[in-house]
Amino acid sequence: MEPRTPLLIVSPSPHLHAGLTTSGMMGTVLLALLPAAATAIYLFGLPALRVLLVCVLGSVAIEALWQKATDQPITVRDGSAALTGLLVAFNLPASSPWWLSLLGATLAIVVGKQVFGGLGHNPFNPALVARIVLLISFPSAMTHWTAPQPGRFLADAITAATPLSESQSAVMLSGHLPQHISEFSARYLLGSMPGCLGEVSALVLFLGALFLLWRGVISWHIPVSYLGTVTLLSGIFWLMDPGRYPHPMFHLVSGGLMLGACYMATDLVTSPLTTRGMLLFGCGCGLFTVLIRLFGSYPEGVAFSILLMNAVTPLIDRYVVPRPFGMDRGRELI
């Protein structure tokens, strides 16, 4: 065999790529969440920073360890572990001890993601898996809220209740909403209320989501249908009895709704692929959120409703399929 000139590369068409990468998308989401993280630190001080650091670094380290242990290529550089960690942190109260944060990161990475085969294969949102497991296993630690103290990083923590749990217990005890909740106030919008790190600053989260929409990382279908359903349903209940059911705006800005609708429900891996499927998914999330918030024993229903709809996603993917171009009916499919 005589030597030859360098071989030409032959690969299947297309020979052009949009340049989108998984890590790039994860990075954009991280970027969109940074202002919210900063807000959380501003409101809750150093404890929030600790939770954030433990969760993010913990997630990355645990993913790397797991992949090393199971003899897989280490893929922490794609940013998905960091994003999961950040979302876990956003689902924890600022007062969480370090072990709770680390446990949350471990649950999310190991139980939520890696046992299913890693990125792209988990049926449930890892951060929400962690949140629910922790909520059920450590109810007191997970509902020990501190009041935000803007800018006072070293102040002593003051225990307080979240608006949602406040309204729930008030309705349960007296049948009526407390005065300050039935009269919606703008302070909720800016996040000056107790709650998880990612539950306090609806406005900042919303701006981040707009950034993601602009960058094309998420589509509008899930957030809009989710928030729309919540507004519609809670609006109906509010009209029926404003003394008992809070204003829709209260629902929109309180609790983890904004975080859930814009960042958790839109998680690519665990949401449907088609636009119609996404709309259905968002509506389902909205429905369950309102039902759980108003009638369930948990004050907050976002995490549960997203997990529930995650479970429905395979069925949606299967039965809500687009009609191929040039085909009369979708009958040929499935």
């Binding site: 059920i136 948990y298 997990l307 429905v312």
Partner: protein, 193 residues
């Protein structure tokens, strides 16, 4: 009417037989490989549950109570259920051989499906009326089918996943079932038990 709706919703979501009461786990894990099979199993169980619920209610209030034979509840209920399951098996075998094949051993095993017996006993314990017990049975069966179908959908996705060797098969299926049950915990407290 409102109480019937609450019973229904309660049985489907809040106290889902599989995911909240953990009854009927055997077919839940056994025949949930494919959505179609899961749906078929759900249908069969729905039929058995509703008819069994009616029969056992009548049996309890028309036969056992008048003759003070409540202690025969378990054995007589099982007898009724077993008979029904046998009939369902014959019907399925005749009408849908494919479904019969895919259900396999789990079809006769509905007999020992604790969900059915549990339902019959719960009917009596809750002092449901005849109509209420039928609605409760239907709700429980729908809840069972719902859980089956959701789980089957998840499992169909699982087979595409490169699950680590030590988690392959039953371990990952149980983890998935556990997470599904966690999601259903959100309904807790929605309907007074």
């Amino acid at each position: 009417m409102k109480s019937l709706l609450l019973i229904m919703v309660g049985a489907v979501f809040v106290n889902n037989f599989v995911l909240a009461r953990f009854l009927g786990l055997c077919p839940f894990l056994g025949v949930s490989k494919k959505v179609e099979t899961a749906l078929g199993m759900g249908m069969a169980v729905t039929f058995v549950m509703v008819v069994a619920s009616g029969c056992t209610w009548l049996l309890h209030y028309l036969v056992l109570t008048p003759f003070n034979l409540e202690y025969l509840q378990t054995i007589s209920f099982i007898l009724v259920i077993a008979t029904l399951v046998q009939m369902v098996e014959m019907i399925v075998r005749k009408s849908s051989p494919v479904l019969y094949q895919s259900l396999g051993i789990f079809l006769p095993l509905i007999t020992t499906n604790c969900a059915v017996l549990g339902l019959a006993v719960l009917n009596i314990q809750h002092n449901y009326s005849f109509v209420q017990s039928l609605v409760f049975a239907f709700g429980a069966a729908v809840g069972f089918t719902l859980a089956m179908v959701l789980y089957a959908g998840l499992r169909e996705r699982l087979i595409l996943c490169p699950v680590p060797r030590s988690f392959r098969g039953t371990p990952i299926e149980l983890i998935t079932a556990g997470l599904l049950a966690l999601a259903f915990m959100g309904f807790a407290g929605m309907v007074p038990n």
